[in-house]
Structures are given as C-alpha cells and as structure tokens.
C-alpha cells in the first residue's frame, strides 16, 4: 500500500523550496522502490516550519519541518514513512499548540486537503452549505448570513448580510457577485492561502451568494502579484464547470451561476470596492463617488455584491452549520472567527484563525514567540499600510473591531506586522505617505496632492528643518486628508503617520541626517 505524503504547493512553502523537496521525495521513493502518493496540499499556516512535510500514519499526520531537499535522504533513512523520529520531526501536526489552539472555521480544510480534488473537498464537508442553500428561499439565505453576524473581512467590517439584502431587494435583469481578491495590504496573506489551499470554498461561497440574491454572474478579481493563486483558481473553476457546480444549472437546480476570473494589474487602489468595479469594467481604477452604493448600482450599473475572499469563504460553513453556530464565536459586535496573519519580524509567523477577542500580547508572544531577531518588539502595524502603529504599551488591546477603534487603530484585513527596536518610525511614517502618493488614483485632491506634499513636509521634519512648524503643517495636512478624501486611501494614510507621531515622537525630533 502506498504512503500518502503531503508537501505544500502553497506559494509561501514554494518560496522556501517545497518544490525541490517534493521532487526529491518522488525521486528517492522511486529509487528505493517505495510506493508513495504525494499530495500538494495548502499550507497549515505554520510558516516557520515550511516546507512542512506530513506523512499520513495510522493515527495522525506526522510532520517534519522545515525540510530542505538535502534532508530528504536522511528522512527516508530514519523511516519517516512510518512516522519515525528525526531531528526535524514535529510530531502529529494537529497537536502542535499553535495549530491546536486555533478555531479554524473558514480555514478548516486549508492544509488538510488536496486543493484541487473535488472528491477530497466533498469528503471534508464541502458543498454541504450549497446543498442547504439550494433548498432555501433567497431571503432565508440572506437572513442566515445576517444572523451569523458576519462582517466584511476585507477591512471595512460592514455587515455582509445587510449588503446582500440590499442587492436582493433590487429588481434588475442582471445582478453580479464580485469577489475582491486584490489583497494588497502588506502583512496579509489569508486570501492567498485560502485561494491556493481551498479554492472550492470561495467558489461555493460565491455560488451561494448568487443564488441568495438572484445574481447569475460572478467575477473574482485577483491581483497579478499572485500567479500561483491565479493558476489554482483557474483549475478550480474549470473543475466546478466540469462537474456542474457552475453553469446553466447549479447541481441540477435549474439556477444559473457563471464565474470568471479577472486579473488586476498592480494597482493597490483596486482593493477599494468602487475602484475594483471600474477596473472590472476595463477602466482606470479610479474610485467612484458614493452614493449610489454598489449594491444598487455596481458593476455595469447593476446591483452588485462586492465581498472579500474571506467573507465569501466564510459563507459555506455558516449555511452548513447554521448562523447560531457561527455567532457563538467572538465578542460584542465582532462575531465569528478572524484569520489573523502574523508577519514581519516575528519568530513564528503564520495564519492564526481565532474567535475575536485575543490580545495583541498573546498573539505576539504566545503564538509568535517574540521577534525573529530576538530584540524587543517596539511596534506593530495592524490592518495594512493604512493601519495605525501600535506601541508596546497598548499590546493588551484585544483584536476586535471596536477595541481597536477605541485606541484609534483598525483591524482591517487582520494582518499584524511586527517591528523590533531597530525600526525608525519616522521612516515608516514617511513610507506611508510615499506609498499613498504612488498609489493614489488621482481623483480627489487631498489624496493626490496631500500625499506628495506630506512626503515633502516629512522629509523636512526628518532633516531637522523647522521641526515644530513642519509638524504642525503635517498634522493640518493629515486632517485635510482624513476628512476630505473620497476613499480610504487618502482618508486613512494619516493613521500610520499620526499614530507614529503620537506614540514615537522621539523618532521625529532627534534625527539629523
């Protein structure tokens, strides 16, 4: 009987040599006449162990990591096909505390299954949500999503069910479901991991959305920086068409849902929903003035759902297990689980899906094990390039939408970037402005001009030129951007800038270049 070996095909694992490891295992197994079946699973999200090779043993999947191609011969010699001991052995993977303590709902299958096997997907509970949805009225599906308390995981945290209800209530010949997979925030990779590790969950969520609101056409807008995810999505869509999950009659229900993959072209702003719609229409990704809301006049002027990957991928389990099951997780108005991405200068970076309510402290030290460099952690940035910098004195804050808003920060897409004490916060604040200048769509003046002028003012501050007067000017400019910009890019760039100024003033006052 052949032994099943899992070697992740996730691009993070590939970036650390997983392909060479898989090839070496296949080669040595052939040389030694050993029957093995190599499955290219997604990543478990334990990135400090990648490439993490798992061997299916009788009782559990035994892990070895991080494995280099040069380690493979030694693994065979030690008897890893039987789960034998080896210096790289980490034991049963699902018993590793980092993994075991998580509450994986949306990421339940990621890392466990073959991402492109529909049989594997169904064997692990896939399409249970869709099956249930097909027996329900559209309004009942929308109600289940509303009752679950799910809020948009892309960053804006708008209640998903309310958005769907608005689309459902419109009368139109054509409605659309669009998935925003333009995950451009630094420190975030949950969308990528899910698309690479369990793409059918996203597709299932989109089909359910379409059936719920009466939309027959879906688009996934994926960023071009994710070539591997693009490849997986293409194959997953083709597989779903071939088996009747997509097309003229979803699972023989007589209801149509078609799905197309569209590619971005390197514009950060296209993660903003109206800009993404412009881009899908083949235009410059300039933001639209709201109202009208996309739910009323979205893609090609039609009622359109715009949801992030994780929001849509959370829908199947809500339908399969019920709204109550999902909303049992979480605190206050933040219900369900959040896939947190721990990144940057941290010893154990990875994906941690937990109910809302974990403290930053627990995340950084309990899960993360402190900084990668071994130096003290000085700051974290949560929520991407538009998120605030948070100092160590506020690490007792818990991760939920309201708690972070309470300290002037935001949760965004749940990415946490760790910085040790070598970070220069003046330079990080300048970078935020420079990034805004580079990525501004140019439609509104506060963002287009403010970001460039802000960068210049910051340069003067950092050069020690009339520091007090220039800081006042900078704060004034930040206020203008905050209140006068059309969308979050200009409107939130002040968050990293002003939080750096507030919590780390010493990095702005003593610099002389």
């Amino acid at each position: 009987m052949s032994v099943t070996i899992y070697v992740p095909g996730d691009s993070g694992a590939l970036s650390l040599g997983a392909q060479a490891v898989a090839e070496q295992i296949a080669k040595l197994a052939a040389q030694r006449n050993l029957a093995v079946r190599i499955v290219r699973n997604g990543s478990r999200g334990l990135y400090w162990l990648e490439p993490l090779v798992e061997v299916q043993c009788a009782a559990a999947r035994i892990g070895y990591g991080p494995v280099a191609a040069a380690d493979v011969a030694g693994l065979f010699d030690a008897g890893f096909l039987q789960g034998a001991a080896h210096p790289l052995c980490v034991g049963p993977v699902e018993e590793i505390p980092y993994f075991k303590q998580q509450q994986r709902l949306t990421f339940e299958r990621v890392g466990r299954i073959d991402p492109l096997s529909l049989d594997d997907y169904r064997a692990h509970g896939g399409f249970a949500g869709l099956t249930r949805a097909l027996s329900m009225e559209g309004a009942a599906i929308v109600k289940a999503v509303t009752d679950s308390g799910l809020r948009g995981r892309g960053g804006a945290a708008f209640p998903t069910g309310i958005k769907w209800k608005t689309v459902l209530d419109q009368t139109a010949d054509q409605k659309y479901v669009t998935c925003n997979a333009d995950e451009g925030d630094s420190g975030t990779f949950a969308d990528r991991m899910l698309m690479e590790g369990d793409p059918f969950t996203l597709i299932e969520g989109m089909i359910i959305a379409g059936i719920a609101v009466g939309a027959t056409q879906g688009f996934i807008y994926c960023r071009i920086e994710y070539p591997h995810a693009i490849k997986v999505l293409r194959a997953a869509i083709a597989a779903c068409i071939a088996q009747g999950y997509l097309g003229a009659s979803v699972c023989g229900s007589g209801k149509r849902f078609d799905l197309q993959l569209r590619l971005g072209a390197g514009a950060y702003i296209c993660g903003e929903e109206t800009s993404m719609l412009e881009s899908l229409e083949g235009k410059r990704g300039e933001v639209r003035v709201r109202p009208p809301l996309p739910a009323i006049q979205g893609l090609f002027g039609q009622p359109t759902i715009v949801n992030n990957v994780i929001s849509l991928a959370s829908v199947p389990i809500i339908l399969a297990k019920g709204a109550d099951f999902y909303r049992e997780f979480g605190v206050g108005r933040s219900r369900g689980t959040l896939p947190i991405q721990l990144a940057g200068n941290v010893k154990r970076g990875g994906l941690i899906e937990l109910a809302f309510g974990t403290s930053i402290q627990e995340l950084l030290y309990g899960y993360g094990g402190g900084s990668a460099s071994g130096r003290p952690i000085r700051a974290v940035q949560i929520g991407g390039p538009l998120g605030a910098y948070i100092p160590a004195s506020q690490f007792d804050t818990v991760l939920d939408y309201e708690a972070l808003a309470g300290i002037g920060a935001l949760l965004g897409h749940g990415g946490v970037v760790v910085f040790d004490d070598t970070v220069h916060m003046g330079k990080m604040a300048r970078y935020a402005l420079e990034f805004c200048a580079k990525e501004s769509c140019g439609k509104c003046t506060p963002c287009r001009i403010g970001s460039t002028r802000g960068t210049e003012v910051m340069d003067r501050v950092l050069a020690g030129v009339e520091v007090e007067a220039n800081l006042e000017l900078l704060n004034d400019l930040c206020e203008t951007m905050l209140h006068g910009s059309l969308c979050g890019l200009g409107g939130m760039t002040p968050f990293p800038v002003q939080s750096a100024l507030k919590h780390f003033p010493e990095d702005f006052h003593h610099v002389r270049h």
Partner: protein
C-alpha cells in the same frame, strides 16, 4: 532589448477579436497583449482602441494607470523586490541596497547586458517569510543577500 517587430503587432487583432463581445474586456486584452508581445507598444494602442470601440486616449489612460502594464520590453529576467512594511521589518532595505549595487541598476532599470530588469513590488503575500522577491514569476522567501546572489547565479 528588442523592439516589437511590426509583424508581431498582427497578434493584437486576434486577441481583440476574441474579447470584443464580452463585457469590460480592456484589462484582459492588455494582459494578453503584454503576454504575447512582452509589452504594450504605442503602436498597439490604435488597433486595440478601434477593436473595442474606445478612444486611443482611453486605452492609453488605462495602460498608464496600472503599474503592471508597460510600453517597452524589459530584460530577459524580471527581479521584483518587495518594498512593503513586513519586508522592511526584516531589513529588505539592506537587500535592496545590495541588489542595486551588485546589478548596478536602480528600480525600473535593466542591467547593461539586458539580462535583468529590477522592479519594486508592494507585497507578494509572503509576509511571514520576509523579505520576499519574485524572479520571473517565482516567489522566494527569507532572502538574504547571499541567497539572492545564488538565485542570480542560477539565472546566468
């Protein structure tokens, strides 16, 4: 770098024809043109505009808006280095300085032998394995200057 041969421009017509009756096709057309020709040359803008019933200005406006689209061909290999925060926290600037010195180019430029074009990129989604670079579409994580030298050597 080789300029685009006028004969190669004929491919544009076929791409446009395949997309012209589908909704919102311009970005998809531009992706395919860049894939086929290595860039979107100024001479391709007219045929694309005519085929999709757009003005040349609209097509040019889209090409110039998106960082990924380019009007000229680049080197045989593309080296994209992440400049975003997570990679900065792992000292990507040291890596970037090393690359610029070693290749003797700045961002958006190509080495004198036409081999490598250096590009900045803002997040490759490999933030738990920073710093990250992408070489010809292949992602690499935890890249040290030494590792980068090995990767570059493997290209030549």
């Amino acid at each position: 770098m080789q300029p685009v041969d006028p004969q190669e421009l004929e491919k544009v017509g076929g791409i446009v024809a395949r997309w012209q009756n589908r909704p919102g096709p311009l970005l998809e057309v531009l992706h395919e043109v860049q894939e086929a020709l290595g860039c979107i040359p100024a001479d391709a803008v007219g045929p694309i505009a005519a085929g999709l019933n757009l003005s040349r200005a609209e097509v040019h406006g889209v090409v110039s808006f998106y960082h990924y689209f380019r009007e000229h061909r680049v080197g045989r290999h593309q080296l994209e280095v992440c400049r975003a925060e997570a990679c900065q926290s792992m000292h990507s600037q040291v890596l970037i300085d090393h690359i610029k010195k070693r290749l003797d180019v700045d961002f958006h430029a190509t080495t004198a032998d036409g081999a490598i074009t250096l590009l900045p990129v803002y997040c490759l989604g490999n933030c738990a394995c920073a710093p990250a670079v992408m070489i010809d579409g292949e992602l690499h994580g935890r890249v040290t200057p030494q590792r980068l030298d090995e990767l570059l050597k493997a290209l030549s």
